[in-house]
């Protein structure tokens, strides 16, 4: 249930007691707070006897922030490497479009999501990532901007680009403006993102590629993903869906752009590069770095993953709000999002080549201040992973996320709800960890739905 962060209260208490004293209660100040594992929630949050946090040494904090940057470099490098594999698979598919090469391209897209989703914990708190990511992972999209859609296609009200269909048109009409898209280049596509101000106008990134490889998932909350035929990419005779040449150009351009973008972000995290983001980050007081780490973990955990990506889809029974809705890969995206949060806390990351990167961690800093808080958060992160694993297993057994959120699937909804609850619980533990390190002001940003 509720685990209201009590550190602020606790440190106030410590101050007040040492100044004023309250008679026989004074010895409570030094009494070690017990670990009230199975007791009432009020007891758990009632830990007024905790000492005020001892300042974390700048040196220890710096090492943790530096390793955080190493972790970012590794995960962005993996995202780039997996993007290059995707690019190769897309090129092979376009050279010879058939079921086999399409399947290989789809597999490469799925593999590329594994490291990318683990990068997202770096997004919140690091403006360089947050300002960059829209071009790569914006979602949900009004896919009618890109290509043909089915008759009952639903889009944002008042989005003038929702049915522009770039693949079918050399000139697209957006409101009163005509835009020339004769040449389909990465630059041109990037300029069409958020066209006319609508954030559902997404022309680039993983989800645009996903739509081009899978097509719309017309199964609603029933089994099955998008079923775009490979023949949508056949040159000349045999082309399905119309305008195969333009669709080919689109897929090629948008995939190349993704790889270029990923490369840019790898450069931002390279060591010893004057003027890149890593240099800026490491030049700041280490406390700022710790705050960014915790802010990234908490923001992804609560507002973005538990809220936008899971709870909206669940409570509205809305497959429109499912994250990887064309490919039905949502379970994996959520799993690796959560994994990323855990990576940052533990200072660990398993690379796509199977090796593990390890180093000075937030966990070790928190443990030195308050072992109980550290143990709580580690346990919560593990619980979250187990709940996410349940979603993965469900999908592997034929019940994907979009089936779990069906209005009449109580059992499925419970699986999703349990994962959300674990994320909420872990966010409270992240606040406790911040408190243990003396980090206040977790600088909130903004998201959409209230939790």
């Amino acid at each position: 249930m509720l685990r209201t962060p009590s550190w602020a209260t606790a440190s106030l208490l410590a101050v007040a007691i040492s100044l004023a004293g309250c008679g026989e209660d004074k010895e409570q100040n030094t009494a070690e707070a017990p670990a009230p594992q199975a007791q009432a929630p009020a007891v758990q949050s009632a830990t007024p006897a905790e000492p005020a946090p001892v300042a974390v040494s700048e040196e220890a904090a710096s090492k943790v922030v530096n390793h955080y940057a190493d972790l970012a470099l590794a995960v962005f490098s993996d995202a780039h490497a997996a993007g290059v594999k995707l690019q190769e698979a897309v090129n092979a598919f376009l050279a010879n479009p058939n079921d086999e090469t399409l399947t290989a391209a789809r597999q490469a897209w799925l593999a590329a999501r594994v490291p990318y989703m683990q990068t997202e914990v770096f997004r919140f708190g690091n403006p360089v990532v947050d300002e960059w990511e829209g071009q790569l992972n914006a979602w949900p999209l009004d896919e009618g901007l890109i290509d043909y859609v089915a008759g009952d296609y639903q889009h944002g009200l008042g989005n003038p680009g929702a049915t522009a269909n770039i693949v079918a048109n050399e000139q697209i009409q957006v409101g009163e403006d005509t835009i020339d898209v004769t040449e389909i280049t990465g630059e041109k596509l990037a300029s069409l993102n958020e066209l006319a101000g609508s954030e559902a106008n997404v022309a680039t990134g993983y989800h645009a590629i996903e739509f081009l490889l899978w097509g719309q998932d017309l199964n609603g909350t029933g089994p099955g993903a998008g079923e775009r035929p490979a023949t949508d990419y056949v040159e000349g005779e045999g082309c399905t869906g119309g305008n195969c040449d333009r669709r080919r150009a689109y897929l090629k351009a948008v995939t190349d752009l993704l790889v270029d973008d990923l490369k840019v972000m790898v450069a931002e995290w390279q060591p010893n590069q004057d003027g890149n983001y890593r240099a800026t980050l490491l030049a700041e007081p280490a406390e700022n770095g710790l705050r960014k780490m915790l802010f990234g973990m908490g923001s992804l955990s609560l507002g973005e993953l538990a809220g936008e990506r899971m709870k909206v889809a669940l409570e509205a029974n809305s497959t429109e709000d499912e994250h990887d809705c064309f490919s039905d890969n949502t379970h994996n995206s959520h799993f690796y999002n959560a994994k990323g949060i855990r990576n940052v806390y533990l200072g660990q990351y398993q690379r796509i080549d199977g090796t593990t990167l390890e180093g000075p961690s937030l966990s070790s800093l928190v443990q030195a201040q308050n072992p109980e808080v550290d143990a709580d958060l580690r346990a919560d992160l593990e619980t979250t992973e187990a709940k996410m694993q349940a979603l993965v297993e469900s999908a592997d057994n034929g019940k994907a996320f979009d089936q779990l959120i069906a209005a009449d699937n109580q059992e499925g909804q419970e699986l999703v709800r349990a994962a959300i609850a674990a994320l909420v619980e872990q966010t409270a533990a992240i606040e406790q960890a911040a408190g243990a390190l003396g980090i206040d002001n977790l600088n909130p940003d903004t998201a959409d739905h209230q939790f």
Binding site: W7, D25, L157, A316, A407
Partner: protein, 358 residues
């Protein structure tokens, strides 16, 4: 053990508040929490429950031909405003689970309400309350009710259309009445939410500081949400392109009145009812802060009440956007004063809220 700790907390708070004075004084945090529960929160929840009771009755009367559409819309407006007034008071049962979402689904980026209402009625030509109870939150709340009464594609002057949509109206009215009565029940009673704001420790709060922290947190969250509710249609998140259909309650033109009602609720939490509010906890050293917050409320509420046209129209003109931008700046000021200055003055860590993220 438990009791001892709360005693420490009470003493410590008192010690700070009274500048190392005696511990025997009544804890102001407890007084504020209890005063807000009885003077502000409980009356607001009671009022909301009453508007939902009238909403349920109105749906039946309208569908029986005994109430005009204009009257039905007025009753809906009352329910919308009562709900908005609760936004800064979502502590406890209504803030948990998916209950708040059952009252209203927003933002509705892809017109889910239009789509889901259509699908629901198509799948259930003889719609029952159970179909709505088991349905998604999108069809259970005020957004769907508003869609039926205000969407231009729903012509309620046509008897056939009315017959088609009426079971949904009635089911939503009943659902809201049931939900609000249930929530009010959880506020009242010996171990109810109001009681948990009066006496400590309890199953929810170890001490009054936690209760005050919780109250301030939901207030800050609500102020943050108001920025979103105005900023989104104003185009602040979309390169300056206004997005009128992304506004809350755009179909009924209630967006700005709802912002005004939420501000009134937030100010009630600040000033307190008959008893003391959060303002009473600001010590003399922060008197200037208290005055600045008073003034921030006065100016933002004056601006919010100064609009005659609906938000969706205002975002369409340069002059309207300028005036709304001023309101936004005032909301931002008010939000920052709470989130940073007031939180610090009251010793509250704000932590993460649902708005963190995208």
């Amino acid at each position: 053990m438990l009791f001892d700790r709360s005693l420490i907390a009470a003493c410590a708070t008192a010690a700070i508040a009274l500048a190392l004075g005696a511990c025997a004084q009544k804890d102001p945090y407890q007084a504020a929490s209890a005063g807000l529960a009885d003077g502000v929160l409980l009356p607001a929840y009671t009022q909301w429950t009453e508007t939902d009771r009238r909403l349920a009755a109105s749906a039946r009367a309208f569908c029986a031909g005994n109430e005009s559409l204009a009257d039905a819309r007025r009753v809906l407006r009352d329910a919308q405003l009562a709900w908005s007034g609760l936004q800064p008071m979502l502590v406890g049962p209504l803030g948990e689970g998916n209950r708040a979402w059952q009252v209203q689904f927003w933002p509705d980026k892809k017109n889910l309400v239009g789509r889901q209402v259509g699908n629901l009625l198509k799948a259930n030509p003889d719609l029952t309350s159970a179909d709505v109870e088991e349905g998604s939150v999108v069809v259970q709340g005020l957004t769907a009710y508003e869609y039926v009464l205000h969407d231009k594609t729903v012509d309620l002057s046509d008897a056939q259309v009315r017959a088609r949509y009426c079971p949904l109206l009635i089911a939503i009215g009943d659902h809201q009445q049931k939900l609000s009565a249930d929530i009010l029940g959880q506020w009242e009673g010996d171990d109810g939410m109001a009681s948990q704001l009066r006496t400590f420790p309890n199953a929810r709060y170890a001490d009054p500081n936690e209760a005050i922290a919780d109250l301030l947190r939901v207030q800050v969250t609500a102020l943050d949400a108001l920025k979103k509710k105005l900023g989104t249609p104003l185009g602040r998140l979309s390169k300056g392109h206004p997005q009128p259909y992304q506004a809350e309650a755009w179909r009924s033109g209630a967006s700005l009145p709802m912002i005004g009602a939420a501000l009134a609720g937030a100010e009630a939490l600040w000033q307190g009812g008959k008893e003391s509010g959060l303002r009473s906890l600001v010590d003399d050293a922060h008197a200037d802060l208290a005055n600045r917050i008073d003034q921030a409320y006065a100016s933002v509420r004056q601006t919010a009440d100064s609009f005659d046209e609906p938000l969706a129209e205002l975002v369409g003109t340069e002059e309207g956007r300028t005036r709304l931008a001023e309101l936004y700046e005032q909301l931002d000021t008010l939000h920052r004063l709470h989130q940073n200055d007031l939180a610090q003055a009251l010793g509250v860590q704000i932590g993460f809220n649902a708005h963190d993220g995208d």
